[in-house]
Symmetry: C2
Subunit: 271 residues, 2 copies
């Protein structure tokens, strides 16, 4: 059992709360039982170590069994050590150190994706994580987080994906123009979601487009999308507003757009 919260190992884990260290080490933290469970179940190859308190091990025997069955290192630590390792005050007794799991845009395109979600200039970790969770929920084929956005391995993003980060391919670090150019070159229609869009999400022409391969392009939460990004998209689509609300927040707008896609794309029964 690790019990010294000031040991080099504990410091090295905690250092992953800093972006520069995550990039140097090509690793990040998955905190809490839900994130660790999904990492172990969906991406055991990227999990380097699982750290947990004796109480958490008792509370979640299934996670421990699955981790051991996958041949992963499971290390028991004191509450104090776990708290010193993590980003939050209450990591709920468990965290995993994982290798970055982003994939290349080439790998995504090779799978002929039908639904892609592109985040450009999204800065708020909670928004980015929530959109990623929504993309997972609608069965999107990939999420692309462009260069100018928040780091998806930021502990706050990881937490707000509630495990979805481990469920679908995520592409990071590619400039927006390149992302959009490559997607379009692959026959994927680009729909910008923008409160000032000239087309309504519920217009029959837009609904028809959602039945073919397409990508939703989301802009910044506060100032939307730069004109040059909007100009690279095929359509600029707005979610209808029926009442007096001025707008929806980014995560709500993304969720409505993604569910419109799911409705058009999936004929098979969801679970």
């Amino acid at each position: 059992m690790l019990s010294n919260p000031r040991s080099d190992r504990v410091r090295a884990v905690h250092a992953l709360t800093r972006r520069a260290v995550r990039e140097r080490e090509q690793a990040f933290l998955a905190e809490g039982p839900q994130a660790v469970r999904e990492a172990v179940a969906f991406q055991p190859d990227v999990v380097r170590e699982v750290y947990l308190t004796p109480a958490a091990a008792q509370r979640h025997p299934g996670i421990v069994d699955d981790a051991r069955a996958a041949g992963l290192r499971v290390q028991t630590v004191t509450d104090e050590v776990l708290t010193a390792m993590g980003d939050t005050q209450a990591p709920q007794g468990m965290l995993a150190v994982c290798r970055r799991l982003d994939v290349t845009l080439d790998a995504v395109l090779a799978g002929d994706p039908r639904l892609v979600c592109v985040l450009t200039h999204v800065r708020d970790p909670g928004n980015a994580g929530t959109v990623l969770r929504g993309a997972d929920a609608v069965g999107a084929d990939a999420v692309v987080v462009s260069e100018a956005s928040v780091d998806v391995y930021n502990p706050k993003v990881v937490r707000s994906t509630v495990g979805s980060l481990f469920h679908l391919p995520v592409v990071v670090g590619v400039p927006v123009e390149e992302v959009l150019g490559r997607l379009r070159g692959h026959g994927i229609r680009l729909l910008a979601a923008d409160g000032h869009g000239d087309q309504l999400l519920t217009a029959p022409a837009v609904e028809r487009r959602l039945a073919a391969p397409h990508a939703w392009v989301m802009g910044n939460e506060a100032w939307g999308m730069p004109e040059e990004t909007r100009a690279l998209c095929d359509d600029v689509v707005r979610v209808p507003i029926h009442g007096h609300a001025e707008s929806l927040n980014l995560a709500m707008a993304a969720t409505v757009c993604l569910y419109a896609s799911a409705r058009a794309l999936h004929d098979d029964a969801p679970h």
Copy 2:
């Protein structure tokens, strides 16, 4: 210009950040230019006073003009006073003290509502505010926040509604059972939104129901809806999950359900 942050008046305004004081005074705080603008534009009768810094007055001349045109008291204060009055560190130079604006369930029912959103046991202020904003966006006729939920006049709820609190009727303080009984007695079908629901939101039978008067009943963000509340509803509906996500968060699920209603209810073109 008010300049003493320790004056009785400043203390009295700041005291409205506490629930007990809000209830005693039947008043609450709307912080920031957007909330104040919407309060002045949509509910000038409930605004008691507008407090703002000289810089904010310069930046938002329209709000000041509208407030004066509505005969409201507009009081200039120092930055220090404004900060001492508010709940946040950065109230963006402006706040209004407003009378509670909740209406009775009778008044809502008298309008023969077609779409109502009921929050039961919703505890997180951000979630409650976001759902209220979503209800506004889809043109819901009213939001009912049951007795067991967060106080809608909590400054965090008010902020996250981004003005929507002033746009549509809100009913508070009625026990869940009474709310559901009264709605049903008025011919309004009750749809519980629940991740474990036995009916899919996209099922043709559910979509047909959304074209008639109905209410969405939302439960707690963490533990969902108590069995006794679910049992009082006509249908228990889940948002389809196509990928591996375990669930959607409350605000996302509510947004998807409400937009499904909007799609079924509104034939007229939204703006």
